[in-house]
Each structure stands twice: as structure tokens, then as C-alpha cells.
């Protein structure tokens, strides 16, 4: 069923469903200054086509941004994309033939799953716990596929504060996953839009930086650290496949927007972005805390939820076999919305879970939203008792 998204867009609904950054925090004077600067110094270029790979200046900015997480990227292997989503699409288009197997986390980002399904891939979920993909289970899935005579082509991972689980892959597991993938010649697609939004804990090396055999395609995005409205993301690919992906992008849109690439360049090159990301971290950390506190107060005994060290999302799992899909209409009537857990799987798992977003609403609305959600869940539990559920 549709997620009733058009119903959740009304202002009276506290939507914990979306995945929107708090763009209202972007300093207006900076926006004005950047636009004035582009208008006076780069008007013609901003209105012109850009190279398919992106402006060299922006690729250099991307190297700077990636170095913040300890990744050393070669600008010649970086391509600017129209949002991180296009990077997912291009990689899938380049590697996947109908029927090919892609491995994904449990749960996994539905925007990627939709792309995989569009290219008629078969998605297999790898079991995941609080430290990310479980290596033993990854091995088991690989050997099961092997007995079927199948070799998966891609492993899609969001290693930091994953969407939707909020889970971060531990350092030890990062190393093991990179090793397994290298051994199996399984290309890792590392999607890291949230990595710089870490509120606490230690910065962990990217899979891209741990890889020694050019077996990782890295996907980045300015959507969460600058703005999703500018539709600017990137990928860093091993040399052997970089040109293929560039050809793929040429066929799709020739190049990403010159205007917004110049916006990104002005923002990153001036150093303004660091202060902005620091502000975002502080904002989101307070919102996450408000959500975690409210969950502890409102959810029934037996509920579990993740405790993300950054990012946008908390993944909640309810007890007693409740299907969160059965709560959704009542929740929307109560003017609160979430995303049901089975939207993050291709195989019907996740029915007891839901994804809650904490980046978009302020603390007060988050507390009120979770309070309403708690009410809906308690009423549903009561109904279930009267229906004879044990």
C-alpha cells in the first residue's frame, strides 16, 4: 500500500515520516552572498553546460569534504552527480543486468531498493544488528547463493547512521566486510550521505579508505550537509569502471547543474560549510535526544529502538507482533506520521518496525509527535487484547 504520503504533507500533521534536513537553519545572508557572487563573477558559466564529470573546482571541494572523514580521493576519479540518488542509479545501470543479485542491509534505504527493482535486480537482505551487517551472516548468504550457482554483483551499504536503522557499522566489521568483498570480488557500493553528521563517538574510516584493491564505489551527497534542493552529489569510483559510469551519465543528463555546482563551490571553498555542519550537528543532536527521551516515556514495555550517534533516523520495533501498518491510519487521524517498517525490505520483513525521523521537526514537535504515537500504540494494544491476541 502507498504510504499515504500526500495525507502527511498537511501542516497540522507532525511528520516523523520524511527524511528532510532542516534547511531553515541555512543562513540567509550566506545564501544571498553566494548568489550575488555567482551573478557578478560567473553569470555566463552558471548558465552554461558543465563537464559531464563536474567542474574541477567542485571535484577539488569534494576531495576536501572527503578528507574530513579520512578518505583520500583522486579528483580524476570523482564524478559530480545530480544528487546521491543519481549516483545509485548510474552504478546500478552500469553493473546490473536483469536477474543479477544485489546484497543490501536489513533494513535498507528504499530509494536504492526502488532503483534496484527498476533494473530488475534480485535483492537479498543480509541480516544486520546494532553494529551493522553481520559478517557471519554475510558469509552464509554468499555460500547459499553459491550453491544456487549465483554470485552477487554488488553489496550496498550505508555505513554511518544508516537510513532507516540509524545503525553504524563498527570498525572491526568494516575491515571484515571489505576483506570478504575483496575475496569474493563483490563490489561494495558505500553510500555515505550522513557521515559528517556525527554527534558523538569516534569518527570511523570509510570502507573506501580501508579498501586496498579498488573494490569500493563511494557515493557522497551535499543534500544533508548543504541542501537537497541543489541536487548535488558525487561518486568516487575505481579507475577501471569510472569511464563506464561517465558514459552512463552522459546519456542521462550530460552534466549536473552548473549553477548549483557553483553554489557548492562558493560554500565549501570559503570554509563556511564547516560552521554550518557544526550547527546542524548541534541542532540534530538535541532533536535526537528529545526523540530518545520521548520514546523511553511513551513506548510500551518490550519495544526496542536504535540509538544513533548521528544522522536522521531512529528505528523502532514494537513488541507482541504488532504490525505498524495497522497503526498508520489511526496515527494520521491523530496528526502524526511515520514510515512502516516493511517499506525498507523487498521481502515483507520489518512489519513490527517503523522509521522515525528527528532531523526535520524541533524538539517540541518531536515530543508531541511521539506522545501521539504512544497513544495510538496503547489503544491498539488494548484493541488487540479485546480481539484475543495473547
Amino acid at each position: 500500500m502507498r504510504d499515504l504520503m500526500s495525507l502527511t504533507a498537511r501542516p497540522e500533521v507532525i511528520s516523523l515520516a520524511g527524511g528532510l534536513p532542516a534547511t531553515d537553519k541555512f543562513p540567509r545572508e550566506v545564501f544571498e552572498r553566494i548568489n550575488a557572487c555567482i551573478a557578478s563573477n560567473g553569470c555566463a558559466a552558471a548558465l552554461q553546460y558543465a563537464p559531464t564529470e563536474g567542474f574541477d573546482t567542485v571535484k577539488q571541494d569534494i576531495v576536501t569534504v572527503m578528507s574530513e572523514e579520512g578518505s583520500r580521493a583522486d579528483p580524476d576519479h570523482i564524478m559530480v552527480t545530480t544528487g546521491g540518488q543519481q549516483a545509485i542509479d548510474l552504478v546500478t545501470k552500469t553493473f546490473i543486468d536483469p536477474g543479477d543479485v544485489i546484497l543490501a542491509e536489513s533494513p535498507a534505504y528504499p530509494g536504492a531498493l526502488t532503483t534496484f527493482m527498476t533494473y530488475q535486480a534480485r535483492v537479498v537482505h543480509v541480516p544486520t544488528d546494532d553494529c551493522g551487517i553481520v559478517p557471519d551472516r554475510l558469509e552464509r548468504v554468499l555460500s547459499e547463493l553459491k550453491t544456487e550457482g549465483r554470485r552477487p554483483k554488488l553489496l550496498y551499504v550505508v555505513p554511518n547512521f544508516s537510513n532507516p536503522s540509524g545503525v553504524t557499522v563498527s570498525l572491526e566489521r568494516r575491515k571484515v566486510i571489505v576483506d570478504i568483498a575483496a575475496r569474493e570480488r563483490l563490489l561494495i557500493v558505500e553510500d555515505n550521505p550522513y557521515g559528517l553528521l556525527r554527534f558523538e563517538g569516534e569518527l570511523l574510516p570509510t570502507l573506501f579508505s580501508l579498501d586496498t584493491v579498488e573494490n569500493v564505489v563511494y557515493l557522497g551527497s551535499f543534500s544533508k550537509i548543504v541542501s537537497p534542493g541543489i541536487r548535488t552529489g558525487w561518486l568516487a569510483a575505481p579507475s577501471a569502471i569510472y569511464q563506464k559510469i561517465v558514459l552512463g551519465k552522459q546519456a542521462v543528463d550530460l552534466c549536473s547543474s552548473s549553477l548549483t555546482q557553483m553554489f557548492v563551490h562558493e560554500f565549501v571553498h570559503s570554509g563556511d560549510w564547516k560552521e554550518y555542519v557544526a550547527d546542524l550537528r548541534a541542532t540534530y543532536a538535541a532533536r535526537r535526544d528529545a526523540m530518545l527521551e520521548a520514546l523511553a516515556e511513551e513506548l510500551p514495555q518490550g519495544s526496542t529502538w536504535t540509538r544513533p550517534e548521528g544522522g536522521f533516523f531512529v528505528w523502532v520495533t514494537l513488541p507482541h507482533g504488532i504490525h505498524t501498518g495497522d497503526l498508520l491510519v489511526k496515527a494520521i487521524e491523530r496528526n502524526v506520521a511515520f514510515v512502516r517498517g516493511d517499506a525498507f525490505f523487498v521481502d515483507g520483513q520489518g512489519t513490527a518496525s517503523m522509521r522515525l525521523n528527528f532531523s526535520y521537526n524541533d524538539e517540541e514537535r518531536i515530543r508531541e509527535g511521539v506522545r501521539r504515537l504512544g497513544e495510538v500504540i496503547r489503544e491498539h494494544l488494548e484493541l488487540r487484547r479485546s480481539l484475543g491476541f495473547s
Binding site: M1, R2, S6, R10, H323, D326, L383, G388, F389
Partner: protein, 320 residues
């Protein structure tokens, strides 16, 4: 000459909002093509104020589910003295409630699958769950569990065994405070679109048969609105006497509920060739994958012709 001003109401807060928006936009385009002055209104708390200001010549209701199909908007339009398309208040009230519909059909001797109905309060306050075993014994398995007042197949489950019943009830009750358990009748899914009523002659359009693709257990939400998920056969291939009976049963249903303007009766034709009425929709969907436009097309009516006929039926019903 002044153009006739039609307000098309769509959207609203029901779970069928998206379907309604699609219907509303399509109707508005058709009316514009026919030379009407059209104002589309996504209904919200400003509706009455806007209608009072505009005083349109006619209101075309394309809001599904709660609010639009349950008599609420119709009642407001009566108070405002505005003409509107489709069924009146009373017929809307009867048709939105599948339990009430089925009780009326039973009283009129129109075949509808046997059923039992419960309110949420019956489970909460009166221990209704202890009757479930008796009901399963009476109606047999599988059973169909559905919310009383919901369209587009939201919240419907086919329950193969007793143990699946509580989950199906919980799902249905998440959509409406009243649910029904209905004997499962396997057979062909037919839809009869009807126009007229009131002072106007009743006219049936060609019968549509919906054949869901194999992965859908029945004509569920996705098979209804995702193009290519269902095969439609229009007109349905039926023996002449069966066709006559299906049309008669549908017509009787329309009359029994007191409908006017237009409506769509959903029928199951069982394996022995007997029709069973499931429900009547007073605001049938008019999207590109909806049944009534298909039926109209088979009758030689374009979508614009169909919308025009709907407008005409409203005007006549009111002035007669």
C-alpha cells in the same frame, strides 16, 4: 452567454485522497474541454466559505471515502442550496456503510454474501471475540474481513484459518470502527456502472470484469490503481441470461439504496453462475484505471461524454 460554473471537489483527508485527486483533476480537464468554467477545490476547512463566495451553478463531487462519499459534503451542499452530482444524502449514508447496505439488500431479497458485523466497542466492552468461533462455523472458511466504510479495498483480508482472524480484524479496525466478516464467495469480479435514477430513467453501462494478475489474491488496492496489474474485459463475456440477471440485481441494488445520478455496483458471479452483490459506490473512481470510464467507453461514450452525462443527471435530478 455566461459559462456555467462548476466546482470540482476532490482530495480531502480520507486514505483515498490520491485516487480522489486523480479523479478530480481528470474531471476538471474534461469539463474545461466542454466549455464549462471550472474551479477545482482540494477540500479543507475553507470549503464552505469558498462555496458561499463563489456560488457555483453546480458542484461536482469527486471526494472518495469519509467526508465525500458518506453524505457529509452532500448535506452541506443541501444547506447551501447548491446543486451537486451523484447520490443524495440518504443514499450516500446507506452506501458508505457496507453493513447497512447489506441489511437493506437482505430485506429486499437481493443476494449478498452472508455476514456478521461488529463495532470496535463490541470487542472492547462486550467480549465479542467469544462469538468468533460460532461465526466461523456459520460462515465457513475462508472468510473475508473488511472495514464497513472504506473504499479502494483498503483494510480487506481474506482469512484462510481461524488463527488469522484477530490480525485481520485489527487491520480492518484500523480503517474503521465497524467491521464485517463475510462469507467468501469465489468467482468472477464484475462491476455494473449505472446512470440515472430519481426522475430519470435508469441506464446500465456494459459490465466490466476485473481479472487481477496472478500475484494479487483479489482485486486489491495495487491491482486497482497500478496500470497493468489487472486485465479488464469489457463488456464481460457472459451468457445472455446471466448478464440479464447481473444487470437486474445491480439495478435493484441501486433502487433499493435510493441512488440517483450515477453509481457502481460490485458483484461476484459465483461458480454456479449466481450473482452476489458486495457493495455500491456512489462516487466511483474516474481515474485512468477505473472501471466506470471503461464501461462508458464500451458504450461508445468518451470520458468527456461520461462527465457531461454526470453533470446533466445532476441538473435534471434537482430541477425535477
Amino acid at each position: 452567454m455566461r459559462q456555467t460554473h462548476v466546482c470540482v471537489l476532490y482530495g480531502g483527508r480520507s486514505v483515498e485522497r490520491d485516487v480522489s485527486v486523480a479523479t478530480g483533476h481528470r474531471v476538471a480537464r474534461a469539463l474545461q474541454a466542454r466549455g464549462y468554467e471550472v474551479t477545482g477545490i482540494d477540500v479543507d476547512e475553507t470549503l464552505v466559505r469558498r462555496l458561499k463566495e463563489m456560488r457555483p451553478d453546480l458542484v461536482f463531487i469527486a471526494v472518495h471515502g469519509r467526508g465525500g462519499e458518506d453524505g457529509t459534503i452532500q448535506e452541506l451542499l443541501e444547506i447551501l442550496g447548491l446543486k451537486y452530482t451523484g447520490a443524495g444524502v440518504l443514499a450516500s449514508l446507506r452506501a458508505i456503510d457496507k453493513v447497512l447496505t447489506k441489511r437493506i439488500l437482505q430485506a429486499e431479497g437481493i443476494p449478498t454474501p452472508p455476514f456478521q458485523a461488529f463495532s470496535e466497542a463490541a470487542f472492547h466492552d462486550l467480549g465479542a471475540k467469544d462469538t468468533l468461533e460460532m461465526i466461523v462455523e456459520e460462515l465457513g472458511l475462508p472468510l473475508v474481513v473488511k472495514p464497513a466504510a472504506q473504499g479502494s479495498a483498503f483494510g480487506i483480508s481474506i482469512v484462510p484459518g481461524f488463527e488469522g482472524l484477530p490480525k485481520a480484524l485489527a487491520t480492518a479496525l484500523s480503517f474503521d470502527g465497524k467491521v464485517l466478516l463475510e462469507k467468501y464467495v469465489s468467482g468472477r469480479e464484475l462491476a455494473v456502472s449505472i446512470m440515472g435514477g430519481g426522475k430519470r430513467e435508469i441506464e446500465t453501462l456494459p459490465i466490466v470484469e476485473a481479472v487481477p494478475r496472478s500475484e494479487h489474491p483479489f482485486y486489491d488496492f495495487d491491482s486497482r490503481y497500478v496500470l497493468g496489474e489487472t486485465d479488464f474485459i469489457v463488456p464481460a463475456e457472459l451468457d445472455p441470461e446471466v448478464e440479464t440477471e447481473v444487470l437486474q440485481v445491480a439495478r435493484n441494488t441501486y433502487l433499493a439504496l435510493g441512488c440517483s445520478g450515477f453509481g457502481r455496483v460490485d458483484v461476484i458471479l459465483d461458480d454456479a453462475g449466481h450473482p452476489w452483490v458486495l457493495e455500491l459506490n456512489t462516487i466511483p473512481g474516474l481515474t485512468e484505471s477505473s472501471l466506470m470510464p471503461l464501461a462508458a467507453e464500451a458504450a461508445g461514450l468518451s470520458f468527456e461524454d461520461l462527465v457531461q452525462a454526470m453533470v446533466d443527471s445532476a441538473v435534471v435530478a434537482d430541477s425535477a
